[in-house]
Structures are given as structure tokens and as C-alpha cells.
Amino acid sequence: MHPRLREILETLNTISDPDERAGMLIDYAARFREVPHDIAQRPFPPGNRVSYCESEAYVWAVEQPDHTLKLYFAVENPSGISAKALAVILDRALSGLPPEEFADIPQDIVERIFRRNISMGKGMGLISLVQMVQHLAQQYVQAHKASSA
């Protein structure tokens, strides 16, 4: 796991008080910035939409000149606080990394961030958001392999 992601998860793990923990996640959500217009504009392409996410989240992974990726998100549901918080965490932890390192996201990241008191539907949407990020990164990995073959 990349140190930036580990640090975020470890910090969250030190907070046992549910309200304090929720406050921290809400602070993350408050820092959410929607995908800029030069990357995507409404209507957002269905190919970037996260399956099963009822907050109608979209993800973009844009390759930078140094071959790292920059993540962008949109969350259409104004109440999609958890989706926004997760998006900010993923952006902070992963943007700037080469796509190969995106595979190293722990399987239980959603549970580690939101704990187990999350419903199936909500958890499914959030996990799908993580999987979408990984899927986009994997596409770059395969493209690089193909071009260097």
C-alpha cells in the first residue's frame, strides 16, 4: 500500500469516537472539487459512471506527462457525502502515482474508512468507485504494455 494511503487509513483508525470520525470524513467531503470543465462536461459520458453507485458518481483518470495519473470525480447526488469523502481520499492517496501502483489498494478499503456500519447498497456503490479507479488505471497499464511490446 502506498504510504499516503496508509497514513490516511492509520489516522482514521486512531479515531474511535464515531462522531469525531464522521467529522473527519465530512471534512474530507467538504474538500471535494468536481472534475474541471477542460476534463469533462455534462452530460458526463456513461463510460465514466460508477456502477451501482446511487450517488451517481463519475471517475476520470488522466495520464500526466510523467506517466502518473491524476484522478477526477463528479458526484451528482448532493447528499452523496460518503462518495465525496472517498473520492477526496482516493485523489489524495493515489493521484501522482504511476498506474501500476493503483493495484495496491486494499480490498477492504471501504470498510476501513467507513467501518462496518454501512449498508449493502452504500457499500456496493463505494466499492464500485474504488474498482472503477483501479479499472481505469489498469487500462493504462495494459496500454503501456501493448505499446512497449
Binding site: 451501482y52 448532493p78 449498508s119 449493502m120
Partner: protein, 287 residues
């Protein structure tokens, strides 16, 4: 959308509008209760004066798979500033899905002075009504609940088995993918999954959210609801009906619709739902 009183509901007084709530924010005889799927929502902002009831920590027993005991419910009511005569107004995210679940649990303990705010959080926010991050503090009350009644609106697996054998109607309110067995559980959340997919034999599939208007989260009119449940699915107001989903929360929404808005006389919620039925040995399953 028509005024609540003009929608033809069997019990229109179980619903209040956001406008009504806005006029009663300082009414000491009511207590607003927010109950959400998203655990961050209440803390991020809620209707002024509303208390938060969490579906996992406040309504469920923390050891057994069951609801809270009488003593725990009394404690919850006391710390929420709810007395026996307080009218509780439930609202929440996801078209009041979790609000209806909390409403249903409250009925197990006989707190009948309860209503749901039509449209929930979604409609309140859409109407640009005030929100606050300030958690209210209320004087603890003395609340004595009745023993939890698990016989009237709740049903257990053996009763469901008898229900199936008697060919009484069931409503599976899950998504079509869950109903057909295509989906067992979500990745990394096998605790809400099942070993087998499908549905309880004879169950009709009516996803719970069909009962609401997607534009503002309000409940559909009685006429529209009858088209879904009566004309399309053949349910009758006098039927003995069991509703279920995966853990009993979505089906509490349908229970609310059938019982209060359409006035069906005997609707019970099978909270064991698919996480129990799909794991039971030797019970019938249809796909």
C-alpha cells in the same frame, strides 16, 4: 404533487409535509428523528432540532441478530428526549427508506404517535429549507415502553414457511437482480450475502422504490400505488402479506406503504429476509 390530504391515502395523517415540519420546528410536542443509510449525513447537516437514530447502533442489538430490548429502547427514547406523548416525525435519506425502518421498529414497541415526513431529506433540501450541524440537547425523559411485540408486524422464518405452504402472498422488494438470484452479495460484504440466490416461492417482485416519485422522494398517490400493488400484482387489502428484502429495511418501507397509505390490514415484515432464507438448509427457493 398533490397535497398529502388529496392523494387518497387510507391514513393520510401518518404523513406530514416539509412545510408542516418547518412550521413545527419549535413545537415541544414533536421530536424530529433523522435516520439515514449514509452515516455521515446527519453530522454534515440536519433539520434544526432533529435527533439522530442510527439503524445499526441504536435499533439493533449489538450481539444477537435482533432489535433492541425494551430497556434499550427506553434508554434510546429517554436520551432522545422522546416521551410517551411525543409525536415522532421520522425522515431520512434514500426516500425515507431508513426512516420507515426506524418507524417500523418504533411500532414494535407501540409508539404509535409517529409520522413520516414526505420526501425525507431530499425534499427538504430541494425546497432549500434550513439545515444545521448543531446537535440538539434535550432533557432525558422517563419512558416506559411495552414489551416488544414480535407477533403483529414482524414474522419469523417458521411462520414464513407456513405462509408459503398456505400460498399466501409475499412481496420481495429487492432489485430484479437479487430476486432472480443473479446477485448474492456485494464484493467484500459477504455478511449481507447468502449461499443461495433467488426468492421465496410465490413472491412477487416489487422493488421498494417504485412507491416514490424520483423527482422529490414523495410517496406516489394512492391511485398510483394501487396500480402497482393491486392491479399489477394482484394484492388485496385483506390479504395476509409478508414483505421481505435482504435484512428487512427496504421491506419496512413497503410495509409502511401497504399498511398506512393503502390501508392493508395484515402486512408483516420478515426482517430475517434473504440473508436468512438464502442461507437456510432445505427451504424452498425459486429462481
Amino acid at each position: 404533487m398533490a397535497e398529502i390530504g388529496n392523494r387518497g391515502y387510507a391514513n393520510a395523517d401518518v404523513l406530514v409535509s416539509p412545510a408542516w415540519v418547518a412550521e413545527h420546528l419549535h413545537d415541544p410536542s414533536i421530536r424530529l428523528v433523522e435516520s439515514n443509510e449514509d452515516i455521515l449525513l446527519y453530522t454534515s447537516g440536519h433539520i434544526p432540532g432533529a435527533v439522530h437514530i442510527d439503524w445499526t447502533s441504536d435499533l439493533n442489538d449489538q450481539v444477537r441478530r435482533d432489535y433492541v430490548t425494551k430497556a434499550s429502547f427506553e434508554s434510546l427514547m429517554s436520551r432522545s428526549g422522546i416521551g410517551p406523548d411525543t409525536t415522532v416525525i421520522f425522515y431520512g435519506d434514500k426516500n425515507n427508506w431508513w426512516a420507515c425502518y426506524a418507524f417500523w421498529v418504533f411500532q414494535l414497541f407501540g409508539h404509535t404517535k409517529a409520522k413520516v415526513m414526505d420526501g425525507g431529506r431530499f425534499k427538504w433540501e430541494k425546497e432549500n429549507r434550513p439545515m444545521t450541524r448543531e446537535a440538539p440537547k434535550y432533557q432525558p425523559t422517563k419512558y416506559t415502553a411495552r414489551e416488544r411485540d414480535d407477533t403483529t408486524i414482524r414474522v419469523f422464518r417458521e411462520q414464513v414457511l407456513q405462509h408459503v405452504k398456505a400460498s399466501h402472498p409475499l412481496v420481495d422488494v429487492r432489485s430484479p437482480e437479487e430476486y432472480t438470484g443473479e446477485r448474492l452479495h456485494m464484493p467484500a460484504y459477504p455478511n449481507e450475502g447468502a449461499l443461495r440466490g433467488g426468492h421465496i416461492p410465490g413472491a412477487k417482485n416489487v422493488p421498494w422504490a417504485r412507491a416514490v416519485n424520483p423527482d422529490d422522494g414523495s410517496f406516489k398517490t394512492a391511485e398510483e400505488l394501487k396500480k402497482i400493488y393491486v392491479e399489477e400484482q394482484g394484492l388485496k387489502p385483506g390479504d395476509d402479506i409478508v414483505a421481505y428484502c435482504r435484512i428487512g429495511e427496504r421491506s419496512s418501507h413497503t410495509w409502511f406503504v401497504l399498511t398506512y397509505l393503502l390501508g392493508f390490514k395484515k402486512v408483516r415484515n420478515y426482517d430475517g429476509s434473504w440473508t436468512e432464507w438464502g442461507n437456510l438448509v432445505n427451504v424452498p427457493i425459486e429462481r
